[in-house]
């Protein structure tokens, strides 16, 4: 009973929880529902009958029959006196404060009141502490800080970063970084969660204006698909706020999600079609550009034509683009950057499970007992999934990280397996050997739900642990420990990313993972499965909607006559029965003169493709090259026509995130200049080439067509996903979507999972005398892919403005390298110049680069050795040498 109102309550909740739920206001300053109560503001004092004095509501659990008073003369006096003390040490200038009128201290003061007379007697001049404005996105003003500790607890409990902590003690206590240095010099990841939660104006965002309205949409960076309320003012995006009700991100965002939208407003956005005339781009009218494109495309139909679609644009756009390629241009040669990231995942998991997507949902991670992250720099590339893993850790889960580098996630790992790049099959098979030798396998699962087990078991023989240790360099004790934990401490969930796929044996790696999951019965269950983390915001959707050379939308096979017939009937056109070419094969065929015209939407292969010099040479050979994009990328410079597209902020549609959740993307602002939606542009080209069935009025029209031809998307309707997205398969309008895959039966034909015998295949280019180091590639938290968007955000650029070669101190010493000096990195294919970062993150013999910086085109070094099954190039392993630059 609170204040005379009888309430039925759940055990385990606090008085403050219950009061808040029932609309009873108890003033508080240091409370946040996500955080462990700390009880330091002393505002939420209440009285409980039978208990002495006043107690704090935020920390006291409710009990049966409790009679609680939230108000009394005594309570008011205590609150007021405490509040006066806080005010005595708080900057008085509210009118110039960012938080004015949204400040929690103001709110509490309005409720509690202060006695100005006492307050004045308490106030005295205090030395002003200088603001910390070092972070490009926000400022810390100690003079407004009320020491509630929410920022500190958030940084620790939510973000696991602990960039901020309390420093010093007593009256001198401050929110401090290590060494009390500027925030920018700390380990702060600039996620901005502390800024959002600061109850007063002590942490406030820079360059952000209060929006006049907010619209919910989806983040355009990675595949997690965080839901964001974007703030809009004067047709500009001015703020971003995580959607607290989102099952995906629970209100949290990473630095790119929170601050990375600013590229939308960038002055370099393309606003008019450009046609190259005498080597120069000249602005043109839409009609002129579209007519020219149609004319040129008309002479290279069939196998002279190729499309590269985009994993950044919505499902609807991808659908239209593949339809155009197939129905109008008469070829299945359409591919996109998924080829360079998760092609082996699809190739591998379709063979073993029947479906290439994440088997589980993101929010299932928190309930896993073991999480095994292999080949994924999760906290940098998928920061919000990283948070889910950290939360699981806090709930007691064991975390196993397998990564050649000491990545950030290792801080949370119980076991770190530091395998040599390219030896994952050996590591995983070694673990499976332990599982089998120690009888830890799930025999029932294997018997009931899998096939080909006996063949697989034979292949395990060659992986005795001594061999595994020798090849992988992981001590066998660790392999054993990891195997036991994964096999026994269930539910076990496995996550992986590019570290598994980008190898010449990438499909084998994926099959090894699916073997391990089947062997231990760790798939097809809640919080237990195989989870490839998709990189781009809509790479899942681009695959789902058929921007692939071998499947129509919904993974329906190009070579299956009944499928072809179905689409011919629906699109009223004759279709090509042969699989098209893949991403890498397209460039080979361009170089050979076979493909004459390339239609490229929003990709940047000059930076992203392995052996990039090869790509440049190929692009020079094209007869006609159309690029459709939002910025003039490094690749667009090679184009004959550039068509200005709308960004995610200017269009309606859907993105499908890594957990197969189809979510609504909404138009937030008007496009710059004459930029147009991708689907509109493609339709205009199609219509000029005589295509029929391209008369859509809205993105929703396209989704309605998708529903009809794509069984897994059959029931995904805009009105159903207005609030929360649906996870495919969702075959009809009554289907609730699918939280995790392969429950009871695998989606593979016959319903059984399949084991695959495997052997160790070394990476194609191993280090030798001339090129003694292994180069592996990685991602930075602050940038995305080739940084077309992220480097156009000033703050992101300032947090990470140049490429750094990560190199182990022992390797650096051998070459007498200094930290931060420029060196040359050479492979058999190219040379780049880059500064060093000497660090233990890389083991001896392995160096690492990202590919975010056009000044340091890392992919000019990488090797285009192709996985025979999935055609992915081996961007994770090549041999290089580092040379000191002679400055004389």
């Amino acid at each position: 009973m609170i204040d005379g109102i009888n309430l039925i309550v759940k055990r385990g909740k606090t008085i403050l929880d219950i009061a808040t739920e029932n609309g009873i206001y108890i003033p508080n300053l240091c409370h946040h529902p996500d955080l462990v109560p700390s009880g330091n503001c002393r505002m939420c004092m209440v009285e409980v009958e039978g208990m002495r004095g006043q107690i704090i509501a935020c920390k006291t659990p409710v009990e049966d029959g409790m009679i609680i008073r939230t108000e009394s003369q005594e309570i008011s006096l205590i609150r007021q006196t405490t509040l006066e003390l806080i005010h005595a040490n708080h900057t008085q200038d509210c009118t110039n404060c960012y938080k004015n009128n949204q400040c929690k201290l103001q709110e509490v003061t309005a409720y509690v009141g202060v006695d100005e007379k006492r307050l004045n007697s308490l106030r005295r001049t205090k030395p002003i502490i200088e603001e910390d404005g070092s972070n490009p996105f926000f400022t810390l003003d100690h003079n407004k800080c009320i020491m509630c500790g929410i920022c500190i607890r958030t940084c620790d409990e939510v973000q696991g970063t602990n960039a901020l902590d309390y420093g010093y003690r007593g009256f001198e206590t401050v929110v401090s970084t290590f060494g009390n240095r500027p925030i920018k010099e700390s380990v702060c990841e600039s996620c901005g969660e502390c800024v959002v939660r600061c109850p007063v104006g002590a942490l406030y965002p820079k360059e952000e204006k209060l929006p006049t309205r907010e619209i919910k949409s989806v983040c355009v960076y990675c595949g997690v698909g965080c839901n964001i309320y974007f703030g809009i003012r004067d047709n500009k995006l001015v703020s971003a706020k995580g959607d607290k009700n989102s099952i995906v991100n629970k209100g949290r965002l990473c630095v790119k999600g929170r601050f990375g939208y600013k590229f939308v407003n960038h002055p370099e956005r393309l606003t008019k079609p450009l046609i190259k005339k005498n080597g120069e781009f000249v602005e043109s009218k839409w009609d002129e550009a579209l007519d020219l494109v149609a004319k040129k495309f008309s002479v290279s139909k069939g196998n002279k034509f190729a499309t590269l679609s985009s994993a950044k644009i919505p499902n609807e756009d991808n659908y239209v683009i593949q339809k155009f390629t197939r129905a109008v241009m008469g070829t299945n040669t359409i591919d996109h950057c998924a080829r360079l990231c998760h092609a082996p995942t699809v190739a591998g998991l379709v063979q073993s499970f029947g479906s290439g997507a994440m088997t589980n949902s993101i929010d299932e991670f928190t309930n896993a007992s073991t999480i095994f992250s292999i080949g994924s720099n999760t906290t940098a590339a998928h920061p919000i999934i990283g948070l889910h893993i950290k939360e699981a850790k806090r709930r007691g889960a064991k975390i196993i990280v397998a990564n050649p580098k000491e990545i950030d996630l290792c801080r949370f790992a119980d076991i770190h397996l530091q395998q040599l790049p390219g030896t994952d099959v050996v590591l995983l098979m070694g673990m499976m050997k332990v599982v089998v030798d120690e009888n830890l396998e799930d025999s029932e699962f294997i018997k009931e739900r899998c096939e080909n087990y006996d063949e697989f078991i034979k292949s395990l023989n060659e992986f005795d642990l001594d061999t595994c240790e020798k090849i992988t360099r992981v001590p066998k004790e660790k392999i054993i420990e990891a195997a036991r934990s994964y096999a026994t401490n269930k539910p076990s969930s496995l996550v992986f990313a590019m570290g598994i796929t980008q190898h010449s044996h990438g499909t084998d790696n994926v099959l090894a993972i699916s073997n391990l999951a089947q062997l231990t019965g760790s798939v097809g269950k809640e919080s237990s499965g195989v989870n490839p983390l998709r990189g781009q915001n809509n790479v899942q959707g681009a695959c789902d909607l058929g921007a692939l050379p071998n499947v129509y939308p919904g993974y329906q096979k190009v070579t299956a006559p009944e499928v072809q017939e179905k689409f011919e009937k629906y699109w009223e056109v004759k279709l090509n029965p042969d699989n098209g070419l893949t991403h890498t094969e397209i460039f080979d065929q361009i170089e050979k003169g076979q493909i004459k015209s390339l239609y490229q939407v929003g990709e940047n292969p000059v930076l992203s493709e392995a052996d990039a010099n090869h790509v440049k040479k190929a692009l020079d050979k094209l007869d006609f090259f159309v690029v459709q994009d939002i910025f003039l990328t490094e690749t667009a410079k090679y184009a004959d026509v550039i068509l200005p597209a709308t960004s995610f902020a200017e269009k309606d549609g859907t993105f499908t995130n890594t957990e197969r959740r189809v979510q609504r993307v909404r138009k937030l602002v008007e496009p710059p200049g004459e930029a147009k939606d991708d689907w509109w542009i493609t339709c205009e080209i199609a219509k000029r080439l005589g295509g029929s069935g391209f008369n859509y009025n809205t993105a929703e029209d396209i989704m309605n067509e998708i529903n009809e031809v794509t069984p897994i998307y059959g029931g995904i309707k805009y009105d159903r996903i207005d609030e929360v997205g649906l996870q495919w398969p969702c075959p009809d309008e009554n289907h609730p979507g699918t939280k995790f895959l392969h429950k009871d039966r695998f989606s593979r034909q016959g319903g059984k999972g399949k084991f695959f015998p495997l052997t160790y295949k070394a990476s194609v280019e191993l280090p030798d005398k001339e090129y003694p180091l292994i180069l592996t590639t990685d991602r930075s938290l602050y940038h995305f892919h080739t940084s077309t968007m992220s480097r156009r955000v000033k703050g992101l650029e300032s947090l990470n403005k140049e490429e750094l070669l990560l190199i182990n101190p022992r390797d650096a010493n051998q070459m007498n390298l200094k930290n931060g000096e420029f060196v040359t990195v050479k492979s058999r294919r190219g040379t780049v110049r880059v500064k060093t970062n000497i660090t233990e993150i890389c083991p001896k013999g392995v160096v690492s680069l990202t590919f975010h910086f056009h000044e340091t085109p890392t992919n000019e070094l990488t090797i285009c050795a192709i996985d025979p099954v999935s055609k992915i190039p081996e961007t994770k392993v090549c041999a290089i040498k580092v040379e000191k630059i002679d400055h004389k």
């Binding site: 602990n162 960039a163 901020l164 902590d165 420093g167 003690r169 401090s176 290590f178 060494g179 380990v187």
Partner: protein
Amino acid sequence: MERSEILKQFEPANENMLNILHALQNNNSQNYLSEEDIKIAANYLNTTYSHIYGVVTYYTMFSLKPRGKYIIRVCNSPVCNMENSTKVIEEIKRFLSIEVGETTDDKRFTLELSECLGRCGKAPGMMINEDVIGNLDNVDFKSIFENYN
């Protein structure tokens, strides 16, 4: 001693945090915890730098500034204060020509104040490193400090 040798004496468990910091500080020739010391302790204990920074700045026995070979801790608690510790402090300041918190130019002495050292029976008292010296109201500081070289 190498820092790694010191760390080896302790299990990497939280309850050893303060013992480890003491050991690293004692091992530091300048009697303080350098940023390197903190980083190494943090890595060993699998915690963050800022967490240990918070710990180090909380406890008065740890210093982030280099200190002298000998740390003089004069008790300034109520009993010693009543027995004129203020005068003792002034005399030491004059004798060593340093303020509280400072280190003599020859890096021999650092003067600090301390809360009750549990020597109230012999107030006013102080410690010089591990030695306790009481009844300071009428002593010749010269003869005391001479013993510390």
